[in-house]
């Protein structure tokens, strides 16, 4: 036998190879493989050293090659010099048996303790994936599945709207059944805690609108009309919409994650088996809190947006009093109400979709993340669609 690499000595036999049995990079003892041909024509793979995950990579590859080259012949793995063989070493032996084919490879002289590990496995059984992934669907099937999913989602949303409406109607008729302690706690999270971010965004919105429009309008000496632009756009549209989008990202996602985690932890199941309706228990307080807080935040956003615009226009020599007078002369109460009324519908959408996505959570941490993502995405999409519908309705009603 000839050693091609490594520190061992060997006698010369043609077509023999070996992998080093010395120390590895980190001083760990390595596995070694010496290949020789027996007098009866069998190929002998002599393994030695330590067979574990950190040592076997080279001998595993060489072993497979040696078996592939020994076409039609029987192969013997001589393990008499194997000092240690853990699960990874056993995996290599099983793989070599699979490579050789049924009954063609024998493992000899493996220490009884390691042999007991090896005998736990059937190489034939392990050759097949017993839980293969489902076959990929064709593009047409995929479109059909997605369409069915969207259809089911719409049905779920309609059913949920019905359940929520029924629960709200019940709450109105029986206010004492509402968990008001929960409602106030959620109000704090949805309303008071969101005020700084709503204030910041709406202030910046007012500032940006004022700057972006005042500069071109100054060329025509029409800076004063920027006050009209800011007043109408903030009160009718932007104050409510921006607040709703912020709340969809903040509170809608929080509702979905909170209820989703409860679903994963079987807390929702516990409510059901206690005879408590999850919609009344979890959804109603959140919807009521959103209905109370979203219009108030919208009001704040409107005022702070106007303030941002007013402060900006001071740099264009338009005093604060002039700004207020201009806004007062052009913006009507119906403009204000057009934006304010929408905020109630937006509140229903944000809370409803957040809670629905939470209740649709299946199991596992990733599904909670999915629920939160879907709550934000579908919430914002619905907000934009409903806002568009409002715009059309207002147009026809001449509001």
């Amino acid at each position: 036998m000839r050693i091609l690499a490594g520190s061992g000595n060997g006698d010369a036999v043609a077509r023999a190879r070996s992998r080093d049995a010395g120390a590895g990079e980190l001083g760990r003892p390595m596995a070694a493989l010496a290949i020789s041909e027996a007098a009866d024509g069998r190929r002998v793979l002599a393994l030695s050293g330590r067979l574990d995950a950190s040592t076997i990579r080279g001998v595993w590859t060489d072993g497979r090659k040696a078996i592939a080259e020994a076409t039609g012949r029987r192969v013997v793995v001589d393990a008499s010099n194997v000092d240690y063989c853990d699960g990874a070493g056993v995996a290599m032996l099983v793989n070599l048996m699979q490579q050789a084919g049924p009954g063609r490879l024998q493992v000899e002289n493996l220490k009884p303790a390691f042999e007991a590990l090896l005998h736990q496995f059937d190489p034939e059984r392990l050759a097949h994936d017993l839980d293969p992934p489902a076959p990929r669907r064709s593009a047409i099937e995929e479109v059909g599945v997605i369409a069915a999913g969207v259809g089911q989602d719409i049905r779920d949303q309609i059913a949920f709207i019905g359940e929520t409406a029924a629960a709200l109607a019940y709450a109105v008729r029986h206010p004492s059944t509402v968990r008001w302690k929960d409602v106030w706690a959620i109000c704090e999270r949805v309303g008071a805690d969101a005020l700084p971010i709503v204030a910041l965004i709406s202030f910046l919105l007012g500032v940006i609108l004022a700057f972006e429009s005042a500069i071109p309008m100054r060329r025509f000496g029409a800076e004063i009309f920027v006050a009209d632009l800011i007043g109408i756009s903030m009160l009718r549209e932007l104050g409510g919409l921006m607040t709703a989008i912020l709340l969809a990202g903040r509170s809608g996602a929080a509702f979905a994650a909170e209820i989703g985690t409860m679903k994963v932890n079987q807390e929702v199941d516990a409510l059901t088996t206690m005879g408590l309706d999850p919609v009344r228990f979890l959804v109603t307080p959140r919807v009521i809190a959103a209905l109370l807080m979203t219009p108030l935040l919208t009001l704040c956003a409107d005022l702070i947006g106007l303030l941002g615009g007013a402060l900006t226009l001071r740099t264009f020599s338009i005093p604060f009093v002039t700004f207020v007078h201009e806004v007062d002369s052009i913006v009507t109460f119906s403009d204000f109400m057009a934006g304010f009324a929408k905020s109630f519908v937006f509140a229903l959408l944000i809370a409803g979709i957040g809670c629905l996505r939470g209740l649709q959570t299946r199991a596992g941490a990733s599904s909670v993340g999915d629920a939160a993502t879907r709550a934000v995405v579908s919430g914002i999409i619905m907000l934009v669609i409903v806002d568009g519908i409002f715009a059309v309705i207002y147009f026809f009603l001449d509001i």
Binding site: R57, A88, A113, L117, D131
Partner: protein
């Protein structure tokens, strides 16, 4: 690395707790190489706290936990990674990664710690799952299998790198008696053939009598070890009535 006669784990003067609450005080014990070592105790006695400190998840107020010659309490960076490479942990809930299939969960440590080819890693992962009877569920997500199956998959993941030491937190809880017995047999086989050391937190008395070489019992009243030794001897010969009561599953005597 510790010599073969040296204890593979040495816990010395360990004091641990959370915030101002001391749960364990001046706890010391050794675990021998290849031993199946069971930590016992009533609810709230500090078993899981002890386990968390032994695997370096929590830092003790004082004391040391020396694993194979290196103190995990003070080890950092590569030294800590080297210690963690030697241990496998199965958490009480399984703690499988929900976005990965069972096979992917088992493959993860192999992909991170070894340079084996992907098809070799796939085979090793399949074999580990075969060992715990889950070969037909390799492609399932944790959420798609039962709690007992998740636990078995977690054991397979803990064994992925064939660590020298396996920490198992309540491995038999939630398993049917047959699977539980198979798991006991697997633990014994790995301990005897490969010299794997097991540290097991469990309440399952049949399992303890079947596999434990040595047990320690921790108690919240003494904040430490109240008994240690062979479980049968403790059951039959312990001077401590609470220990005998525990092993005989007798209800606590009510004060007159």
């Amino acid at each position: 690395m510790a010599g073969d006669d040296e204890p593979i784990i040495k816990v010395r003067d360990l004091t641990a707790g959370y915030d101002d609450v001391v749960i364990l005080e001046h706890v010391s014990f050794d675990v021998r190489r290849g031993q199946i070592f069971v930590i016992l105790g009533g609810s709230g006695s500090g078993k899981s706290t002890l386990l968390k400190h032994m695997i370096g998840l929590d830092e003790p107020s004082s004391g040391s936990v020396v694993i194979d010659g290196a103190d995990i309490v003070v080890a950092e960076g590569d030294a800590r990674r080297e210690i963690l490479r030697k241990i496998g942990v199965m958490y009480q809930s399984g703690a499988l990664f929900g976005s990965m299939t069972l096979a992917e969960n088992v493959r993860l440590p192999l992909e991170e710690y070894t340079d084996l080819d992907s098809d070799e890693i796939v085979l090793i992962a399949r074999m580990k799952l075969e060992l715990v009877g889950l070969a037909q569920f390799t492609g399932h997500l944790p959420a798609e299998v039962s709690g007992g199956m998740q636990k078995r998959a977690a054991i397979a993941r803990a064994m992925a790198l064939d660590p020298k030491i396996l920490f198992l937190d309540e491995p038999s809880a939630g398993l049917d008696p047959i699977t539980s017995a198979e798991l006991d047999a697997l633990i014994k086989r790995l301990a005897r053939s490969l010299g794997v050391t097991f540290i097991i937190v469990t309440h399952e008395l049949p399992s303890i009598f079947a596999i434990a070489d040595r047990v320690i019992m921790v108690d919240r009243r003494t904040r430490g070890i109240v008994a240690e030794g062979d479980p049968r001897r403790l059951r039959d010969e312990s001077d401590n009535p609470w220990v005998r009561q525990f092993f005989r599953r007798e209800p606590e005597a009510q004060p007159a």
